[in-house]
Symmetry: C2
C-alpha cells in the first residue's frame, strides 16, 4: 500500500522533532508500506527568508522569491532523509521539480496542473522512503521553480496521494484534528471524527487554519480522503472524505476569521455594470475578495460591501478611490476592526431555520451583525472584532455542538 | 563580451554586502557586457548547515548532505537577483543543475565533466544578468544534485568562463590578490601583478588560500585566465594566466600550510611493492596524500613519511596500523605539530642553487628541516609548527621578495 504523509513546519521545527518524524515515517515503512513523505520548511524558516528578501526589495521579483523560499524545504527534507538513514532505512529526498510537481506560471501562488511522479515510482521500487519538498513545483513552460503559496505543502501532499493512487493522505500537524470551534476560544469544542470535503472547504475558507482551502478543493476534485492527525500524539484525528448525506450531522462547526477587513463603497449609483467594473478592477489587481454584499437600493444609490485580507486593504482602497469618482460613488471606507463568524454544516440545506437560530443566538448575546452572506451549507456574519470570542461561544452553545455524539 | 564574475561567501555575507555586489555586477552589465555571476553561500551558511546535519548524523549520506548544502547558494543567488532588480536591471538565478554543470557521482567532491549552458545563453540573449549557484552541479547518471567540495565555487566560475568563451574569469574575494607571502605574517609581502597557472597551482597546493587548487587546474587545462580581485576595493588584483617564461620572475612567493600532519611508517622492510601497498590502501580510503618522502635504506629497512590533512590522520593511522604488521613495519607515528613552507617560482628551473639558498636561510634562522620535497618549480620543507612564521619571513627576506619590481 502507498502511504502519503505530510508534516508541517512545527512538526520539523528542530532536529529533535525531525528525529521523531523519522521514527513515525520509518514505522509506516517497516509495516510494509511504500511511504512518501511531504515536508514543509522548518518552523519559521520561510518567514525569516521572506524577511531577508524584504531587506533588499519591497516587491521582489516572483521568480527569485520562489527560488529563495524553496531553500526552506530543501533543508528540512535533507535533514529528515539523514534522520531516517540513522534508523537504518534508506530515503531519497526530491525537490518539487524532481518529484514531478508541474505548475502554471503564477509565481508565489502557482497551481498544480500535472503530476509526473516517475522519479518517485523509481525510488519506491528501489525500496527507499521518498521525501518530497512541499509547497514547490516547476513551471511547465520555462522550467523555473515555483511556490504554491502559504500552506501549499498540504496541496502537494494531496496531489501526490491522487497521482500515486494512495487510499488516504495523512496530514500531520500541531493539532489533533478538526474541531467544532477553535478550542482556544471554546473550552467545550469537540473534535470531529469525520467531515465532508464540502464542509471542510467552507470551514477552511472561513478561518479554520488546520487545512489549506486549495488542498481540500484538490482532494474533493480528485476524490482523495485526508486524515488530519497530530504529529505529537496517537489520536485518531479527523477524516475528511466524500461524505454521505445520511450520516451528516446538521452542523459541523463554527469557524472565525479576524484576518479580513470590510471595504464599503458608499452610495454607488444603482446602474447596471457598476459592480462588474469594481470587481473586475480588484480581480485584475489580484485582490482576493471573500464576501460580497449589496443591498437593495434606496434613492437610486446603494452601498456595496466586501471583505478581503487586511494586507490587501490599502491597495484595494487606492484602486477604488480612483474608480470611485468615475462611477459616481461617494467614497471608500476600509474597516479592519471586524471579524467573520461562520456556521457550517452540510445538513443545514435540509433544515430550515438554522440562519434564524444563529441570528437569535447572536442577538441574545448582544452581538450586532453588520453583514450577512450564506451558501447552501454555510452562514457567515461580519461583526465587530472585539465580539468574536463571545459570538463564537454563543453560536457553538446555541447549536449544542459540544454535546453532540461524534458522527 | 561575456564577463564571468565570482563572489565568495564573505562578499555576500549579509544583505548590505549583497547590495554592493549588485552594484558592481550592474556596472559591468551597463558597460555593455553579457554578465554571468557565480555566488557562494552567504558567510558561514555552509558551516551552519553542516552543523545541523551533524546533530542528526555523524556520517550523513552524501546525496542528502549535498541536497542540504546546496540550499546555501540558492539563498544567496536569489537575494542577489532581487538586489539587481532593485537597481533596474533584470536578473535570473540558476541552480548548478539549471546552469548545466554536469558532474560525476562523487557526492561531496564531485568533478565537473561537462557544461551545457543552454539556459545561460537563453537568459543572456533575453538581456538578463545570469546568476549561477557556485559549488554545485548535477549527476549525469541519476540527475541527483552534487557539490564540488570546499571552494568549489571557484571551479564553477572557471568552468563557466571556459564553456562560455569568456576572456577572463574574475574572482572577487576578501583579499586583493595573490601575495609573495601571507601579509598577516610578512609585513613586506608584495601583491603579484601576474602569476602563471603552474605557479598558482603550486601556491594553492602549498597553502595559499586565495584560489582552490582544482579551479586553477581547470583554468590551466582549459586556458582560462583568472583575475583575482577584492570585492571591497578597486585594486587591480592578480592575473593568473598561461605565463610566459621570458617575463617570469625567478621566485613568485612563499606559501605555508599548517593544516597537515606528518605520518611516518617506521622501519619498513626495503622490498619491492611495499610503498605501493601502503599508498594504494590510503588512496582506496580516500585519504589525500600530499608529500611523500622515502630515503635510502640502511640495514634493510627504511622510514616512509608522508603529509596529509590533519583531519584524515586518525583514519590513516588506524588503516596503516593494521597493515603495519602485515608488511613487517615497526609502527606508525602521526605528528600534527608540523608546518610546511614552500618556495615557488617558475624561474627556479633554470636557476641552480635556489634550494641551497633556501636551506641556508632556514639554517641561519635556526629552523630545523624534517622533510624535503621538490618539483621543478617548487621546494617544500616540513618543519616544527612553532617555527612557521619565523621560517616564512626568513625565506621571504632571503630571496628579496619584498623589493622586487612587480612582474
Amino acid at each position: 500500500m502507498i502511504v502519503v504523509q505530510k508534516y508541517g513546519g512545527s512538526s520539523v521545527a528542530d532536529t529533535e522533532r525531525i528525529k521523531r518524524v523519522a521514527e513515525r515515517v520509518t514505522q509506516a515503512r517497516r509495516a510494509g508500506n511504500d511511504v512518501v513523505v511531504v515536508v514543509s520548511a522548518m518552523g519559521k524558516t520561510t518567514d525569516s527568508l521572506l524577511a531577508r528578501a524584504q531587506e533588499i526589495s519591497v516587491i521582489p521579483p516572483g521568480r527569485e522569491l520562489d527560488m529563495l523560499l524553496t531553500a526552506g524545504e530543501r533543508i528540512s527534507m535533507a535533514l529528515l532523509a539523514m534522520a531516517i538513514h540513522e534508523l537504518g532505512v534508506t530515503a531519497r529526498s526530491l525537490t518539487g521539480s524532481q518529484a514531478g510537481i508541474i505548475t502554471d506560471a503564477a509565481h508565489g501562488k502557482a497551481r498544480i496542473i500535472d503530476v509526473t511522479p516517475g522519479r518517485i515510482h523509481g525510488a519506491l521500487a528501489e525500496g527507499h522512503i521518498v521525501i518530497v519538498a512541499g509547497f514547490q513545483g516547476v513551471r511547465r513552460d520555462s522550467k523555473d521553480v515555483t511556490t504554491l503559496g502559504r500552506g501549499g505543502s498540504d496541496t502537494t501532499a494531496v496531489a501526490l496521494a491522487a497521482a500515486l493512487g494512495a487510499d488516504v493522505c495523512e496530514i500531520y500537524t500541531d493539532v489533533d484534528g478538526v474541531y467544532t470551534a477553535d478550542p482556544r476560544i471554546v473550552a467545550g469544542a469537540r473534535r470531529l471524527a469525520r467531515v465532508s470535503h464540502e464542509e471542510m472547504l467552507e470551514l477552511a475558507a472561513c478561518g479554520a487554519k488546520v487545512l489549506q482551502v486549495r488542498s481540500v478543493e484538490y482532494a474533493r476534485n480528485h476524490h482523495v480522503a485526508i486524515a488530519v492527525r497530530s504529529s505529537f500524539s496517537d489520536s485518531d484525528g479527523t477524516l475528511v472524505d466524500e461524505g454521505d448525506d445520511m450520516e451528516q450531522a446538521m452542523i459541523s462547526g463554527v469557524a472565525h476569521d479576524t484576518g479580513e477587513g470590510k471595504l464599503v463603497i458608499r452610495r454607488v449609483p444603482d446602474k447596471p455594470g457598476v459592480a462588474a467594473r469594481v470587481f473586475t478592477a480588484l480581480a485584475d489587481a489580484n485582490v482576493n475578495i471573500d464576501m460580497i454584499v449589496q443591498n437593495v437600493s434606496e434613492d437610486g444609490t446603494t452601498d456595496i460591501s466586501c471583505t478581503l485580507p487586511v494586507a490587501d486593504g490599502p491597495r484595494a482602497t487606492r484602486l477604488l478611490e480612483e474608480l470611485s469618482s468615475e462611477i459616481g460613488a461617494e467614497g471608500i471606507v476600509f474597516d479592519t476592526d471586524v471579524a467573520k463568524v461562520s456556521l457550517i454544516g452540510a445538513g443545514m440545506k435540509t433544515h430550515p431555520g438554522v440562519a434564524a437560530a444563529m441570528f437569535a443566538a447572536l442577538s441574545d448575546a448582544g452581538v450586532n451583525i453588520e453583514m450577512i452572506s450564506t451558501s447552501t451549507i454555510r452562514i457567515s456574519v461580519v461583526i465587530r472584532a472585539g465580539d468574536v470570542e463571545h459570538a463564537v461561544r454563543a453560536v457553538h452553545d446555541a447549536f449544542g455542538l459540544a454535546e453532540q455524539v461524534p458522527a
